[in-house]
Symmetry: C2
Subunit: 133 residues, 2 copies
DNA sequence: ATACTTTTTAGAATAATTCTAAATTGAGAA
DNA sequence: TTCTCAATTTAGAATTATTCTAAAAAGTAT
C-alpha cells in the first residue's frame, strides 16, 4: 500500500501545508487509502517500522497541524491519549473500552433527529457520536 | 442550596459507599439538586470555597469512586481534564470549545436511529452524543 | 478502649503533551 | 549555484492531569 509521492504533495498543497520531508513521510504513513484511528504512539511506531527517522515533538507538531488543516479528525474518547482519524467523511464510532480502540460505525446507518436550537450566535462545529462497548 | 446530611447518607448508602467525612463533604458539594459538569479543579475550588479541607488525591479518589458506583457520569471531551456530570438521566451535551465547558442539551430532544448491529458478544455501555460549538 | 481495616494525605511517580532554544532545512533572490 | 532569511525539526526541559506509595488518621466492630 505504498503511496504515490505526487499524490501526497498534492494533498499537502491543497491544504496549504508545506511539503517538508517529515510531513510527506508522516502523510505517507497515514494516507494509504485505508481508514485509520491512530494515537501519537501508533504513528511513532509506524515511523520506526518504516525507518522514518523523526522525533516525538515532530509527530505532535505534524498531527496537530494536519488536524488543524482538516486533513485529520481528532477524536477524544477517554482522557489520556488522543486519537486521529484519517476518515474525514461524516461518520461515528464504536469505542472498545477494554482495548482502548476505535472503529468506524459502518455505513451511514446512524441518523440523529431532534437537534435542539443552538445557543445564540453559535454554530455546530461537529456532532460526535460514540457508542461505548 | 444546602443539602440535608441525612439525604447524603442515604445516597451513599444506596450506592454502597461508606459515608466518611470527605465523601459526605464532596457529595454535599455536588448533589445539591442542580445539574453540574465539574472538573477535578472545579471540585477542589468548590471545596476551598466552603472550607472543606481535603487533598487533591482524595478528590480524585472520591470522584473516581462515585463514577464507578454510578453516582456520577464521567465525560471525555478533549484530551486533558476529565469532567464529571451529576445529571445521570439519559441525555447529551453541547461542548463550548472556546470555553472548555459542557452544557446539557435540554429535554430529550435528540433521537438516534439506525444503530448498527454490534460486534459479536458486545453490548452497549453508553451512547454519547457531543455537539461541539 | 482495642484491634483491624479502610481512608486520607503529602509528595513522588507516570503519562501525555507542549514549550524552548539551538540546529537544520526549504525557497526565493542574487 | 550560493546567500539569506524564515520556517521546520529536534532533544530535552517544562507543564498538566492523573495515579501511586506508604505512613498517618479515621471508621467499625468487638
Amino acid at each position: 500500500m505504498s503511496v504515490d509521492s505526487k499524490q501526497i504533495n498534492k494533498l499537502l498543497g491543497e491544504h496549504k501545508i508545506r511539503p517538508t520531508k517529515i510531513r510527506k513521510a508522516i502523510a505517507g504513513l497515514l494516507f494509504d487509502g485505508r481508514d485509520k484511528h491512530v494515537s501519537v504512539d501508533d504513528v511513532i511506531a509506524l515511523a520506526r517500522a518504516r525507518d522514518v527517522k523523526t522525533s516525538v515533538a515532530s509527530v505532535y507538531n505534524t498531527l496537530n497541524q494536519f488536524a488543524a488543516a482538516g486533513l485529520l479528525r481528532r477524536i477524544a474518547v477517554d482522557g489520556g491519549r488522543a486519537f486521529f482519524d484519517t476518515n474525514l467523511s461524516d461518520h461515528h464510532h464504536f469505542y472498545f473500552e477494554d482495548e482502548e480502540r476505535l472503529e468506524d460505525i459502518p455505513g451511514n446507518a446512524i441518523e440523529i433527529s431532534g437537534l435542539p436550537k443552538l445557543p445564540k450566535g453559535r454554530q455546530i462545529k461537529s456532532v460526535d457520536v460514540t457508542i461505548r462497548l
